[in-house]
Structure formats: C-alpha cells, structure tokens
C-alpha cells in the first residue's frame, strides 16, 4: 500500500521529511514541504495536482536528477540523497527507467539504437544486448519498426520506444512524466495499456505524474500534491489490488 504519513516500514521507496526550496531572485519558494511517501514494489502510483504543485520536482528527486533541500529518499535500501553526482549517475543507470512526455529519443539513432543506449553502459556482449533490445521492442509491439528513425514513427510509437528504452535494462522502478501528455486519446490508451501490462505482467513499480484524471484513474493509487504537500487519494475504482489489472 502507498502511504504518505511516514508510517511505512517495508516499502521499496521511502521518502522522509522531504523539503525542496528554490531560490528565484531574492525569494525562496518552498516547492515540497515535509513530504513522506512509502511505495511498495509492484505498485502503480499516479501523482496529480495543479501546475507548480511540485509533481515534476518530486519525480526528479525520486529519479536522482535533483537533490532535496532536506530529508531523505531511500530506494531498495540505497539512501540516494547523499550520493555524489557520479554515484547517483550509476545508480540511475541501474535502478531508474525514465519515460518523458516529449519522448526524448535521439533523432539520429534508430528505434533499436535508442533502446540499446542504457545497455551500452553494461558489460553485456553485443549479442546479449541485441537479444534484450529485441525483447523490449517486442513487449512494446514494435519489432517491425526497430530500424526506423524517430521521425519515421508516430507519436504513440515514439513513446513506446521510450518505454522500451526505459525497461530494457530491467530497472527497479519506472518514472513517467506526463507519458500521454503529447498523445491523442487512442495513442494515450495504447500507452497506458502498455504501462498497465508492465505493472501487471512484469511486476514493475511505476510512479507517474499526470494532469489527466482518466490516465490517473488507471493507476493503483492516486496521490494529490497541493502546495508542496502530498494528500492520499482513493484507489482507482477499477483496480482490485496493487499490481492487478482490471
């Protein structure tokens, strides 16, 4: 179960008393204030909230892309808030899969080459890398598009390549920042079905930021961020249990 009161003890992700303050001009802006969060493995959590509520900041902190002003984040036993920049980079490579709103594929590389990128940092042989990439592209249903460049793919297909890149190295959890924000409803449904499949079939832990209530409703749990504070939401009505897909 997702908890926001700091009472969890066996979560995959534990966030304690997290503050994030930005300084803009001479003014200090508190984006997150004393935030607690516990997420267990295999959960699919959606973060909602108005613009500027701190959703993306929280996602960046959880992904080790930013450092908090105060507090701690522990993932699978690793306290990441005090890691050096170099160690944090290595940690991200091993534990986090990123899915961005704008896909962020490298335009000069094919779908196959984009998905292979995280594996180039591992000691896998070329043949092993090829097998992993082929499997990841198979999961997202793009085996027949692996040698296409991003410009030759639709938005939905590009986002599926991004998902393949995020899962190819089998990370501990996935962070999705508005994964359907740039897609039409049909493509958004396809992408969400894929993310549900990753949670249900492959037991991935997914943390997702979205503005879209319909998209958020497909998560196991919905948390609201308002003025830097997390508020527990209700489980999505069609979800029977964590990891289950209706």
């Amino acid at each position: 179960m997702v908890k926001v009161d700091g009472s969890g003890t066996k979560g995959l992700i534990q966030v304690r008393d997290l503050d994030k303050t930005y300084r803009r001009g001479g003014e200090e802006i508190d984006v997150l204030q004393g935030l607690n969060l516990d997420v267990e493995a295999g959960e699919f959590v959606a973060f909602m909230g108005p613009s500027g509520s701190g959703k993306s900041t929280l996602l960046n902190l959880l992904g080790g892309l930013d450092v908090p002003t105060r507090g701690s984040i522990t993932v699978a036993g690793d306290e990441i808030t005090h890691m050096s920049s170099g160690r944090l980079t290595q940690w991200r490579a091993r534990h986090v899969g990123f899915i961005f709103q704008m896909y962020n594929l490298i335009p000069v590389l094919t779908a196959f080459q984009n998905v292979e990128l995280p594996l180039l940092l591992t000691k896998l042989s070329k043949a092993e890398r090829h097998a992993h990439v082929a499997a990841a592209l198979g999961i997202v249903g793009l085996s027949d598009r692996m040698h296409h460049f991003p410009r030759q793919l639709s938005g939905g297909q590009e986002q599926r390549v991004t998902i393949a890149r995020a899962v190819v190295s089998d990370p501990t959890f996935l962070l999705c920042d508005e994964p359907t924000g740039d897609l039409d409803r049909k493509s958004a449904d396809d992408v969400m079905a894929l993310i549900e499949e990753l949670v249900g079939k492959y037991h991935k832990t997914v943390l997702m930021v979205t503005h879209d209530p319909l998209v958020a409703a497909r998560a196991n749990s919905i948390l609201h961020l308002d003025k830097g504070v997390l508020v527990e939401g209700r489980p999505a009505p069609h979800m029977s249990s964590a990891g289950g897909i209706a």
Binding site: A93, N104, K126
Partner: protein, 382 residues
C-alpha cells in the same frame, strides 16, 4: 568501440555544417603546410651552409666587386685551406620568368670548396676543356629538359647585351636532399673574354674553406683587417650568417609567416569553437537524456571532444594530403624563383598535432558546458 555509432551519428546529423567545418580545417592546414614549406625554403640556406666555409664580399654591398688579386693574400692567412670565387651572371633563358641562378666559377677550386655538389670526373674534365662549357644543377636541367651535349643560349642583362652560348658538359647533384640543385656554372675564362678591361679581374665574392670551423672568427677578422682602408674593404662572415643575411633582404619572412599562420589558426579556432558550441547547444536536451539514463559527465564530455577531434583530424589530414599533391605543382610553377619547396614529414606531423590541438581546444569548452549542465534544467528546454 560501442559508442562509435553514437558519435558518428551525431557528427553526420548536419552534413553541410560538417563538410564546411572539415573544409575550414583542410584550408587552414593546407595554408599551414604551404607557409611552412616557404619558410623552410628561405631558412634552408643557413641550415645547410657548410660550418667550415666563409664568404667574403665587398663591405659596401654584394653588388660591388673585389679584385682577384686578393685571392693569394687571403690564402696566406693561417687557417685558410682552399679558396674559390664566384660572380653573379644574371642572364635570361628565353623568358624572364625562367629564372635560375648562374654563377661564374673558378674551375680550379670550385669542387674543393663545394664538396657536397657532385659532378662525375668525366663530365668535369669535359667542362675544364670547354671554354663555353657549363655545369648545371639537376633540378634546372630537369626543368628545361637539358641533357649533356645540349647547346644553351643565355641572354645577358648585366654584361652588355647579346646572347652567350653554352655547352652543357655536366650535371651536378647534391649529396644531401636539401642541397641546391638549381645553379648554372660557367667558366671564368670565357666570362673574362667578354668583359671590358675595366671589369676584368674582379670577382663577385670569395668562398673559402677553413682548416677547422673553430678558426671562423679569427680568420674572418684577419681577412677584414688585411683589407681595411683599402679601396675594396671586405666583409667576411660564415656561410650561414651570409645566407641568413641574404634571406633578411626579403624582410623578416619567418615573422610574416608565423603571423599569417597564427591568424589562420586563431580564426579556425573561433570557427570550430563556435560550430561545436552551436552543435552542443542544439543538442542540450539530448545530452540531458544521456545523463538521465546513466551516462556519466565524463562520457558526455568524451562525446563532444571525440566529435571535435574527428572533424579536426579528417579536415587536417585532408588539408595536408592536398598540400602533398599541390606543393610540388606550385614549386614547378615557381621554377627557380624560390629554393626547392620541400614538404617535410616533420611539417606534416606538426600540422596534424596543430589540428588535434585546435580540435581539443574548440571542443573542450562546449564539452565542459555539457558535462556540467543540470539535467533537470536541460530537460525543460525540450
């Protein structure tokens, strides 16, 4: 190298820009090679000069002559081993553009002083017996297609007017690759026959060989002291000092060439640095993605530096290859106007080192920017 595909894919994303940047390197390196070759050609005289040779000229100017009668007086000075004399002939072969240096020589001692310029004994003996004989350097013979036995007309510009006829009796070769093979030697006696009485018995300059290079300073002073306050005062200096002084008459070639070369490379640095900075700025979000998914700061720096270096090496190598092809053609066109233009391996290596240096410098600042950028900020720029 598993990152090679990424680096080359990035390099090829803007092909026109890539070609223009490589072209900038190629042009700059070609210019560098050519300027170095010209500089080498001017400096070579002093580099290859005999360490044990002195040149004696009229103190007023090399245009003014010195009496032949000085020869025996100079020979008596301790330390002098052998002496010869030359005059500048300055004739034209068919057309003014066919310039090459012609010297009236003292056949008796020429080979003893200039031991590095080799003529076979047969050809030399034929020359000695032929008043109208001439020995010509291999480069000049090749340039005009002259062979032993050819008869060559030269039109004088200094000694009256008219055409002087010469028989090519021999061709000399330099012992070393850098020795001057452009000269044309003619007989002192034949030369004297054509002069007015007023000009007879006057030499342009003397060249002598010392018993030991260590005697150079003492012998030079002794010679100049000997003719002090005479109508023909002398200036004696080592052959390398003489050659350096000769080059100085053209102005400070080295400073000129270094200045032009520096401006070319500074411009290249600005052009390439700007190109790399634009290229990295355009790709900021992509580089942020690399960092987000686990590529280290150093790897990102490596990507940028590798691109910059590849451009530099390809462009530099291209420029140097072009210079290897073109410098001999230019040398051929210039004929004897300049000493031999030779592109040395050290110039090529130095050129490549310079290209790599410019490549690193132009890539390092954009690379450091990419290395230090904050992923969160960079991703917002999508």
């Amino acid at each position: 190298m598993k990152f090679a595909r990424i680096i080359f894919a990035n390099l090829l994303r803007k092909k026109v820009r890539l070609l223009l940047t490589i072209g900038s390197f190629a042009v700059a390196l070609f210019l560098f090679a050519f300027l170095s070759v010209v500089n080498d050609a001017f400096q070579r005289g002093s580099d290859v000069a005999g360490a044990d040779r002195l040149v004696i000229i009229n103190r007023t100017s090399i245009i003014n002559t010195i009496p032949l009668s000085y020869r025996d007086k100079i020979l008596r000075i301790p330390g002098v081993k052998v002496i010869t004399h030359n005059n500048w002939f300055g004739a034209i072969y068919k057309d003014e553009k066919n310039f090459f240096p012609q010297f009236v020589i003292d056949p008796e001692n020429q080979r003893q002083v200039f031991t590095e310029l080799l003529v076979s004994d047969d050809q030399w003996n034929a020359f000695l017996k032929d008043r109208q004989g001439a020995i010509v350097g291999a480069r000049t013979a090749e340039r005009f297609g002259w062979k032993v036995g050819d008869r060559v007309p030269l039109m004088t510009t200094i000694y009256g007017s008219g055409t002087w006829e010469f028989n090519i009796d021999g061709i000399y070769h330099g012992k070393n690759p850098l020795d001057d093979e452009t000269q044309f030697w003619l007989q002192w006696d034949y030369f004297q026959e054509h002069l007015s009485d007023r000009n007879k018995g006057q030499v342009g300059w003397y060249v002598l060989r010392l018993n030991s290079p260590d005697d150079a300073v003492g012998v030079s002073k002794a010679i100049d002291d000997e003719f002090d306050n005479s109508p023909y005062e002398t200036r004696t200096e080592t052959e390398s000092a003489f050659a350096a002084g000769w080059v100085k008459q053209f102005g400070n070639i080295k400073i000129l060439i270094i200045s032009i070369g520096s401006i070319v490379f500074l411009t290249l640095l600005l052009v390439t640095g700007n190109t790399m900075a634009i290229s990295v700025r355009e790709r900021t979000p992509e580089l942020a993605v690399f960092k987000a998914i686990g590529y280290s700061d150093r790897t990102v720096l490596f990507f940028v530096l590798a691109e910059s270096l590849i451009i530099a090496v390809i462009g530099g190598a291209l420029g140097l290859l072009v210079s290897i092809g073109i410098v001999p053609l230019i040398a051929q066109k210039l004929g004897g106007l300049l000493p031999a233009l030779i592109l040395s391996p050290s110039t090529l290596v130095l050129g490549l080192i310079l290209a790599v240096f410019v490549g690193i410098i132009s890539g390092v600042f954009p690379g450091l920017n990419a290395m230090h950028m904050r992923v969160v900020n960079a991703l917002r720029r999508v």
